[in-house]
């Protein structure tokens, strides 16, 4: 069940919110667990048992780690917990890819492997596993305490607003709010407003631009022209940002309505003037997770330069793999790791001497190239699209593609929205800024309602794709 579906908006959300506030405060966590498990079981009716079982195991291991005073023993427990979680992730997310690699290797040696039944990838498994690992590691480091009861821990793992697309939350950041929270009228209002903004970002911008970028990436490579390649990549660049940050907004907004305050996950990443800065603004909960639970334990920058670069490279290789079990994601991770190494090697020194606009353009170009790698299906597609973008080859243009005026308008809105803080006229109208002016509040409210209506209209339209007549 996705947030932008009619079922969620018109059935689950109103019933859940009404039920939540009708429930006495002391039972609200139980209601939230019920709603969250139902939400997850709706989409993953079988994997829910794996997830619940694994959650119980973590809870038990967390208790053992907390109770243990001997560091070596604690390390063994945390190692066991991490291994169990990585095994879960490995099996559900990477086993098909692993089999493919092994069977190719075996075939090259003339060995035929037996049949393989593909393992279905459950949604949110990557987010769940990372969060479960933070819980165990934080207890091990004595940086966080275990959940006071199982209900709290199940709520942390299955808390539905962040389940589908993050942000990745640490238990210690939300522990107090799980135990005690309060929802004010402002929380309700601002949370709902943030949800509507996220819905609009996802439905009106990301989905709209995504329809075009999907077409470009599905067009036979021989036909893709330079202009289509650029437009397709630009559309995808904004699609992925508005889709992902829209989901984060919806998660943060819903949480605010329920009395939780989640950390921000995006801070205008396309304003970045370097790749290093980009990763401080993009999917912040993931980049901080990588920093705190991978990069620093590997030695971070408190080691030799060579080891530091290797750590960086390894972290982003794994970051690519975390995004998906396919070569383009791995290439993308390697590409990002390589760029960060270049930043550290010399670029950031040179960067300070160049004008901000030039740095911004270079960073944006590098990000766009990264998205080509990320979105492509094969190495051949990556190579062809990049060669078209940089006019190294030409496409026939023999495909029914047309960049219509509505796409131009949405792309422009996406561009302005992504660079909002750099445009003071617009940033003054941001809902995050707040206002005391009555007329400004009235305009903001009207705009938000219009945004909600428009988003719902588009969602409705997506449910009706009729044909003119039945055909053969």
């Amino acid at each position: 069940m996705i947030f932008s579906s009619a079922l969620f908006l018109f059935a689950y959300l109103p019933l859940f919110v009404a039920g939540y506030f009708a429930t006495p405060i002391q039972w609200r966590n139980a209601f939230l667990v019920f709603g969250s498990v139902l939400f997850y079981a709706w989409t993953e009716p079988t994997f829910i048992f794996w997830a619940l079982g694994s959650t119980l195991l973590d809870y038990w291991i967390g208790g053992r780690i907390a109770a243990c005073e001997i560091k070596k023993k604690r390390a063994a427990w945390v190692g066991f917990g991490i291994a169990a979680n990585i095994a879960l992730l490995g099996w559900f997310k990477y086993s098909n890819f692993g089999y493919e690699l092994i069977s190719q290797l075996a075939a090259s040696m003339g060995i035929a492997l037996g049949k393989w039944v593909k393992v279905a990838l459950p949604i949110a498994v990557s987010f769940i596993v990372f969060e479960k690992i933070t819980y165990l590691v934080d207890i091990y480091r004595r940086d966080g305490s275990p959940a006071r009861n199982l209900l709290d821990y199940v709520l942390y793992v299955f808390y539905f607003p962040k389940l589908l697309a993050g942000p990745i939350i640490r238990y210690k950041d939300i522990q107090q709010q799980i135990q005690q929270r309060h929802t004010s009228f402002d929380d309700l209002h601002d949370g709902a407003a943030r949800f509507v903004v996220g819905l609009g970002k996802k439905v009106l911008i990301a989905d709209h631009l995504g329809a075009f970028s999907d077409k470009v990436f599905a067009t036979p490579l021989v036909d893709v022209t330079s202009s289509w390649a650029w437009l397709g990549v630009l559309c995808f660049t904004f699609q992925i940002y508005y889709d992902f940050s829209g989901y984060s907004d919806m998660a943060i907004g819903l949480s605010r309505m329920l009395g939780f305050r989640l950390n921000e996950n995006f801070r205008f990443p396309y304003l970045a003037t370097s790749i290093t800065e980009f990763w401080r603004r993009w999917h912040i909960s993931l980049s901080t997770w990588i920093r705190d639970y991978l990069y620093i334990p590997l030695g971070g920058n408190r080691c030799s330069k060579a080891r530091n670069y290797l750590n960086l490279f390894l972290c982003f290789f794994l970051c690519g793999l975390w995004h998906g079990a396919a070569w383009p994601f791995i290439f993308w991770g390697v590409y990002q790791g390589a760029l960060l190494m270049i930043d550290k090697l010399f670029w950031l020194k040179l960067h300070s001497r160049l004008p901000a606009l030039a740095n911004h353009l270079v960073a944006s170009l590098l990000v766009c190239v990264g998205w080509v790698v990320f979105r492509s299906q094969s190495a051949e597609q990556i190579q062809t699209l990049l060669s078209r973008m940089f006019f190294l080859s030409r496409g026939t243009g023999d495909a029914p593609l047309w960049f219509s005026p509505d796409l131009t308008t949405v792309l422009l809105i996406a561009f302005v929205g992504a660079l909002r803080p750099a445009l003071p006229v617009i940033s003054g109208w941001s809902i995050e800024q707040g206002t005391t002016s009555a007329w400004k509040m009235w305009i903001q409210s009207s705009a938000l309602l219009a945004l909600l209506l428009l988003s719902i209209s588009r969602i409705a339209t997506e449910t009706f794709q009729a044909f003119l007549y039945f055909r053969f």
């Binding site: 009619a6 079922l7 035929a112 509505d406 209209s457």
Partner: protein, 653 residues
């Protein structure tokens, strides 16, 4: 506060309205929009989800519930129309019907498929396919003529081509297309084979001035009533020489203009599903029958252009009965009355509608020669027309015999007209083709499993699994079949392998019984090309696989085919090629000269269609790829490189 209250109302309203059953009985525009009653377009609604454990675990309940709510929530129609109106008003863009409606100049609407065809972006038929299509039509014409039935091809015009000046600039050609369209290439062939046809596009061009440009409505994809009337008259004129009792044509007595569209004058506009109605002028035909003589029955196979034509004939009384097979097998429309019935292809009433009719007409739009319905209809009617001689072509397996391996099978047992043999474990049979011609044989038999359930696998040549059957130990014999291809004088060994060995039946019977093959019969399918001499030469080819209608042969390396053309006709070869595992460059060398080279892939079949063999000549075609042979699959140890699919030959003068 204002926003929060508004948002609560918007999100809670559909749920509250769902609890208000009276909405379905209320009338008026507001209630239409609330209850989603007036959206235009064809979409099959999802059924209501039924909750069960199985449905929940499989996710089917969740999927259906999501679709069900998505298609029915209150005010959905209002939302759809609001969004469409905004986009259309601001950008002249619609995402309805997968963006298929495109705005042209002066408010003219077009369907994208026709625009793509105009621009040359839709696939064209090869010369081979076009020629074969016309040859097939000529054969159909001849066979129908033997039964006293007239036949004609009706080519209907495309709005995008007829009104090129009105299409959006990006679809206009500017200069004549580099390659001729199917319509332009098929006309000389139709004339060459003497096929009666109505040239709708030419008729539309000539009628354009007479009808003052009103040949297509601004808001529809089909012709106007007046152009349909002129075409209807022309069709009768075309059929008349073949008919014993010729009906009178119909006369376009005049035109009437008003703001009331008759279906399908505004079908594209309706499909946009906008909020506000748009008014426009619509041109209607005023027709008069030019005489009183009616034809007996007309059968038309074709698309939505036929609806107006049939309605006009019905109004004029040109035919006593009209049957319209809509896109051949979607639905059947009968006149008088315009009754519509869903159609099951297996239940087409061939004897009545195609064997006992005055005329058969196939309608194809000038942009739709490559669509499926003409091909499917041609295949269907050819089967029907060939039916009297069908008996002679089946059951003749005299040149093919079965030999049971004596050490694997117990003796034959019989009872009345049934016969069977038991096997105790793995058991072989040999299929022998004593004929000098290649054969495709279907083996039909029943399988029995003794006492226990067994899986019986059938292997060819020792390793390649042909089929796998689950046979119950308690159920009656289960009918099964497999097909095998045999080269001239080839013997193929089939091994039946049960999952469990035999058991003693008890008593005095000392045998071990695993399974029995019961009533084994052979059918010669004659599927291998046999009209002309085609031979897959050498040991590089593996035996034929697949079915009668879709077959292939894998090659393990450079492989040869020899073809001999008849003395008086040129031969055209067509086939498709597929690479194993990864794309490869395939080169075709005909009698030492390279005739084709291109990349073939594992996923898509590449059609190779223009290999010609001169009359009376024997030609050798060598196929070589730049790749290497690789193992066929996990359990198939053959080394294969590429495959040739569905090789066919056609002789032409």
């Amino acid at each position: 506060m204002f926003f929060l209250v508004g948002a609560c109302i918007i999100l809670a309203l559909p749920l509250l309205v769902a609890l208000f059953p009276q909405k379905e009985r209320k009338e008026g525009r507001f209630w239409d929009l609330l209850a989603n009653r007036t959206l235009k377009g064809v979409q099959l609604p999802h059924s209501a989800p039924a909750l069960s454990m199985d449905a929940w675990w499989s996710g089917e309940f969740q999927r259906l519930a999501t679709s069900f709510v998505g298609e029915r929530f209150a005010f959905r129609e209002l939302g759809i129309r609001l969004y469409n109106e905004l986009l259309w008003t601001a950008f002249r863009k619609s995402y309805m019907a997968r963006e298929s409606v495109i705005a042209g100049e002066d408010g003219f609407l077009f369907e994208n498929g026709y625009l793509y065809h105009l621009k040359g972006l839709s696939p064209k038929l090869s010369e081979f396919d076009l020629t074969r299509f016309v040859i097939d039509l000529a054969e159909i014409r001849d066979k129908l003529s033997e039964r006293g039935i007239a036949f004609a091809l009706l080519i209907t015009p495309s709005k995008a081509i007829a009104l090129e000046g009105k299409v959006p600039a990006r679809f206009r050609l500017g200069a004549p297309p580099a390659e001729k369209r199917d319509y332009e290439r098929i006309k000389p062939l139709l004339e060459k084979y003497g096929l009666p046809f109505v040239d709708g596009p030419a008729l539309a061009r000539s009628a354009n001035r007479r009808l003052n440009g009103a040949i297509f409505p601004r808001n529809g994809t089909h012709w106007t009533g007046p152009l349909a009337a002129l075409t209807a008259d022309k069709l009768v004129e075309t059929l008349r020489p073949q008919l014993q009792v010729a009906p009178s044509g119909l006369t376009l007595a005049g035109v009437k203009v008003d703001q009331k569209p008759t279906s399908p004058d505004d079908d594209l506009l309706l499909l946009l599903n906008l909020l506000r109605a748009r008014e426009d002028d619509y041109v209607h035909a005023v027709i008069e029958p030019s005489g009183r003589t009616s034809g007996k029955k007309l059968t038309i196979v074709g698309g939505s252009f036929v609806h107006q034509l049939a309605a006009m004939y019905d109004e004029a009384g040109t035919w006593n009965n009209i049957v319209h097979y809509y896109y051949y097998k979607i639905s059947k429309h009968t006149y008088p009355g315009g009754l519509i019935a869903p159609l099951d292809e297996d239940k087409i009433d061939w004897p009545s509608d195609f064997g006992d009719t005055s005329a058969v007409v196939l309608e194809v739009n000038e942009s739709a020669f490559g669509w499926n319905h003409p091909k499917a209809f041609v295949a269907g009617i050819k089967r029907f027309l060939a039916a009297p001689s069908k008996a002679a072509s089946t059951g003749d397996a005299a040149a093919t015999t079965i030999v049971y391996s004596a050490q694997d099978w117990y003796g034959q047992e019989t009872s009345r007209d049934e016969m069977w043999r038991w096997a105790k474990g793995d058991a072989r049979i040999q299929v022998v083709n004593a004929s000098p011609l290649p054969r495709r044989i279907r083996l039909e038999f029943n399988l029995l499993s003794f006492q226990d359930d067994r899986t019986i696998r059938i292997f060819s040549g020792g390793t390649m699994e042909l089929a796998r059957f689950q046979v119950s130990g308690s159920a009656p014999p289960s009918p099964q079949s497999i097909e095998v291809s045999l080269e001239a004088h080839e013997t193929q060994t089939l091994r039946f392998s049960p999952s469990q060995p035999g058991k003693p039946p008890g008593g005095a019977d000392q045998r071990l019984l695993a399974f029995a093959v019961h009533n084994l019969r052979l059918h010669d399918l004659r599927g291998v090309p046999d009209q002309h001499s085609v031979e897959f030469v050498g040991t590089e080819w593996f035996p034929r696989e697949g079915t009668d209608s879709d077959w292939w042969r894998w090659a393990k390396g450079t492989a040869k085919i020899t073809v001999e053309a008849p003395a008086d006709k040129r031969l055209i070869l067509q086939f498709q090629a597929v690479a194993h595992l990864r794309p490869k460059k395939l080169t075709l060398i005909q009698d030492g000269k390279q005739v084709w080279s291109g990349t073939i892939t594992p996923d898509l079949r590449t059609t190779i269609s223009e290999i010609f063999v001169p009359p009376g000549k024997r030609s050798t075609l060598q196929l070589q790829s730049d790749g290497q042979a690789e193992q066929a699959g996990d359990s198939d140890v053959r080394l294969i490189e590429f495959a040739v699919f569905n090789l066919t030959t056609t002789a032409i003068h």
